[in-house]
């Protein structure tokens, strides 16, 4: 049961592996980028779930509540989400340029065309 108690970590690790697998195994550049996004999101979940205090409420001052969830990890991840969005935007912009230059977004095709 101890292992199940850490189910948030299992979820994060599972998602992380799915993301990394996509990045490595897929030849389609957009799919690679989506894999990268899933990988990053898994890390965000890891951060946010570690700030959770069982029985704590949202960190807003109010009458009658004394136990709050730690807001810092959530705030950090807000920054990391911005970074992740920016990475995706740059990645997609590069993919658009790749498609203009090669007329393909399949890694194998692109590498073959350069060898020709």
């Amino acid at each position: 049961m101890a292992a199940l108690g850490h189910f948030n970590y299992w979820v994060a690790i599972g998602l992380m592996m799915i993301g990394l697998y996509l990045v490595i195994a897929r030849g389609n550049l957009v799919k690679k980028l989506v894999g990268l996004n899933i990988f990053q999101t898994a890390v965000f979940l890891l951060y946010i779930s570690m700030g959770k205090v069982i029985g704590g409420t949202a960190p807003i001052f109010a009458e009658g509540f004394t136990l709050y969830t730690n807001p810092l990890p959530s705030v950090l991840i807000l920054t990391a989400i911005v970074v992740s969005v920016a990475t995706t935007a740059v990645g997609l912009a590069i993919i658009v340029r790749i498609r203009e230059a090669y007329d393909s977004i399949e890694e194998d095709d692109i590498l073959r065309r350069d060898e020709e």
Binding site: L29, T87, V90
Partner: protein, 493 residues
């Protein structure tokens, strides 16, 4: 007022200038601003280094929020020195950039190119100056995102795939660091590096901290292109615009090495990294492999830019090797080599940018007889090349000397032999260029090439001259490196 806020200005000035640069309509105006900003950054970095030398460690609280809640900047000998390296290379590359990208990037895209360059400078300076682990991640991503954009500007379409690969591997590396920092926060409840160092020993013997260490080392390994995590580097450097290669090769990986040293020695501490965790046994073989494989592969490259990229993999091996000794001499070697390698690779890649401007390509056959047509550029190339080999009276010799000394101190004779053997390999690949440039007649249909434009030539000559000067006068660099190494190891001078 300004003097007390120098640590913030170091990062804020280039950061604010980047969007202004992007909004400027013309490449030349943006260039003037970039040059002004990069020289301001260098002036600030030098002022900070002098202040560290006279007054000791500078602690700066961003926005007046006290650490550990606010973001603290902490400047000691090591990062003050790395700041000077990064800002110095920025100040050398920026003037050369206008001519360097003239044929590679369309005029209407030039302002945005300069904006990306300033952002990369911001990120690299930020990584170096910050004393907060999460802040480091944010600056790392600023620097990386700007670098992906810069690499993608390369004239060849293969630059796009190189940038995409760099983006994938760079993001994985940065995310690994993010995981590591998160695990550290989980166990200690702080992100401030000084605080982390104080609180880690109490919880060091836990699997969470072991995992955090592993994630951070692999993440920084990806960022600094430590063999075998260097797969992104050769293509990125080979296809990026010439001045971008010069800027990234001389700063990006240096900051990566700085991150590694900072995490290993300041945050985790040498006893944890080398006794509890087997960092020395892992880092040293990979560093040596990187040195040998990088140098060997470099010999067989026909494109000189790609050759220098593989040579960078080897040189990064030298720096990682110095860290893996966990000794004062080893650290001195690494820190001195940070500086020396920035000088020589900056000079070499800038010289190649000038060659590429005049010839349109940088492969070996095109460079036949170039020694006569671009005498000053090629003379600088040779001087920096000698430094790369480690010939006495060049800067490269100083770092190799300390590295060999560290290997002998550690009783590792075979390592010293590998270091010296790899110098011979470096001699082969530098010689290939020298032979072609000086002892072959140019091809009959070769384009007429003249000397590089003055704005490029002066930085090239300054960097190459620096490589000689700091090989003869070693007092400044070794003195600072010694103080930095002592601070890292926690031994007072």
């Amino acid at each position: 007022m300004i003097a007390s806020n120098l640590p913030a200005l170091q990062v804020v000035v280039p950061l604010i200038s980047a969007p202004i640069c992007a909004m400027l309509g013309r490449g030349r105006t943006a260039w003037v601003l970039t040059v002004a900003v990069s020289w301001t950054a260098l002036a600030i970095a030098i002022a900070l280094l002098i202040r560290v030398e006279t007054g000791g460690v500078i602690d700066y609280e961003m926005g007046g929020w006290a650490a550990p809640w606010g973001i603290a900047y902490r400047i000691d000998y090591l990062n003050a020195f790395v700041l000077v390296i990064v800002a110095g290379i920025g100040a050398m590359v920026a003037p050369a950039a206008l001519q360097g990208i003239a044929t590679e990037i369309a005029p209407e895209r030039q302002p945005r190119f300069f904006a990306a360059m300033l952002l990369a400078l911001t990120g690299l300076l930020g990584i170096t100056i910050t004393g907060d682990a999460f802040n480091l991640y944010v600056f790392l991503e600023i620097a990386s995102l700007a670098s992906y954009a810069l690499v993608a500007q390369g004239p060849d379409r293969r630059a796009l795939m190189a940038a995409f690969q760099y983006l994938i591997l760079g993001t994985i590396g940065a995310t690994f660091i993010l995981i590591g920092v998160g695990l550290l926060y989980m166990m200690t409840g702080t992100l401030n590096m000084a605080d982390l160092a104080a609180r880690l020993p109490a919880v060091a013997e836990t699997r969470t901290i072991y995992a955090a260490f592993a994630f951070i080392i692999v993440g920084t390994g990806l960022k600094l292109a430590l063999f075998p995590l260097h797969m992104w580097l050769p293509n990125a450097y080979a296809y990026a615009p010439g001045v971008v290669s010069a800027f990234m090769a001389a700063t990006g990986t240096k900051v990566g090495v700085y991150m590694l040293a900072r995490f290993v020695y300041t945050v985790f501490g040498a006893p944890f990294a080398f006794d509890t965790m087997p960092l020395g046994q892992i880092l040293m073989p990979f560093a040596l492999l990187g040195i040998v494989v990088g140098s060997l592969v470099a010999i067989f490259q026909d494109d000189i830019k790609r050759m220098l990229a593989y040579s960078s993999v080897a040189q990064i091996g030298y720096m990682a090797l110095g860290i893996s000794f966990a000794s004062e001499t080893g650290l001195i070697a690494t820190i001195v080599h940070l500086f020396n390698h920035a000088l020589m690779k900056g000079a070499l890649f800038l010289a190649l940018a000038a060659v590429s401007l005049r010839l349109g390509k940088t492969d070996l056959t095109a460079m036949r007889g170039l020694g006569r047509r671009m005498p000053l550029t090629m003379a600088a190339f040779v001087a920096a090349g000698l430094s790369l080999i480690g010939v006495p009276l060049t800067a490269g010799f100083v770092s190799k000397w300390y590295l060999v000394k560290a290997a002998i101190e550690a009783g590792l004779w075979p390592v010293a032999v590998v270091i010296l053997g790899a110098s011979l390999l470096a001699m082969i690949y530098v010689w290939r260029v020298v032979e072609v440039a000086y002892f072959r007649a140019p091809a009959a249909n070769a384009p007429a090439a003249v000397e590089a434009p003055t704005t490029m030539l002066i930085p090239i000559l300054i960097l190459a001259g620096g490589g000689i000067y700091f090989g003869i006068d070693t007092e400044v660099t070794v003195g600072i490196a010694r103080a930095a190494a002592m601070a890292l190891l926690g031994t007072s001078p």
